[in-house]
């Protein structure tokens, strides 16, 4: 499951332009919709749980990333990241946020929460 925003006039699974929705697209359908410019992936908060830096975020740090399902699956399977609760849901975060985003996907993302990185 990923979170998307409709970016074109054409509806996507009954969602109009600007709507944000969760859906379980297959990687192929997701790629087609992204390539067609009909959706963008809404950034999600992740924690780096492995021992390698991810998205210029050191182990233990948090960042906002907009990964495709395949990219996220590879990072989860590799033990690099885990999904983290959004800051609003997590309450007052005790983690150290990182800065200086570097895009690693071709998707467009919405403005990041203050102090966290986007991909």
């Amino acid at each position: 499951m990923n979170t998307y925003r409709v970016t074109s006039g054409a509806e996507v699974v009954d969602h109009k332009e600007g709507a944000v929705f969760d859906h379980d697209f297959s990687p192929e359908v997701e790629a087609d919709l992204l390539a067609a410019g009909r959706i963008v992936i809404e950034p999600r908060r992740y924690k780096v749980v492995g021992s390698s830096s991810v998205n210029e975020t050191a182990p233990g740090g948090f960042f906002l990333g907009a990964f495709t399902r395949g990219q996220e699956a590879a990072l989860l399977a590799g033990g690099h990241i885990e999904r983290a609760r959004p800051i609003a849901a997590a309450g007052k975060p005790t983690d150290t946020a990182t800065t200086s985003p570097t895009p690693i996907t071709t998707t467009t993302v919405s403005p990041a929460a203050a102090g966290e990185k986007e991909s």
């Binding site: 990687p27 790629a31 749980v49 492995g50 021992s51 390698s52 830096s53 991810v54 998205n55 210029e56 990333g65 990964f67 495709t68 395949g70 990219q71 699956a73 590879a74 990072l75 399977a77 590799g78 033990g79 690099h80 570097t102 690693i104 996907t105 071709t106 991909s119």
Partner: protein, 136 residues
């Protein structure tokens, strides 16, 4: 004056694996399209489709979140992912460019070597599209 390769950074699907890279190549190549017509005295040509790749030899590491954990998942699923190479770890600039591309992992050798050798993992990331060079 030329410079030796000192400290390039190599990021695969967002994961910084620079400290496991033994060698890196950025291969930029384009098709040679023959445009010769009657009356020419020599072959004329134009640049055709580009076919580019990153070739990296890794010091293999099967520990969690290291080389194999990163590459095996990408190879197994055939996931398109980003590869980023910087000449050095310093900030991107005119003298420290960065090359970025969306790639698919077509050649991944988890083990290569002879007894006594360091276990290396030669890898070819074929570019889907073109490599983009940035200086800022």
């Amino acid at each position: 004056m030329g410079k030796y390769i000192a400290n390039p950074t190599i990021t695969v699907n967002g994961v910084d694996l620079s400290d496991h890279a033994r060698a890196v190549e950025i291969n930029q190549s384009a098709a040679d399209v023959d445009t010769t017509c009657m009356g020419e005295t020599g072959v004329t040509r134009m640049q055709g489709l580009r076919d580019e790749s990153f070739v990296v030899t890794w010091a293999q590491d099967f520990a969690a979140s290291k080389v194999d954990a990163t590459l095996n998942a990408l190879y197994t699923a055939g996931t398109a992912h980003t590869v980023v190479v910087k000449a050095t770890s310093a900030a991107v600039s005119a003298t420290n460019p960065k090359w970025t591309a969306t790639c698919v992992l077509l050649d991944y050798n988890p083990i290569a070597g002879s007894p006594g050798d360091l276990t290396e993992a030669p890898t070819t990331f074929k570019v889907s599209g073109i490599i983009v060079r940035a200086e800022a």
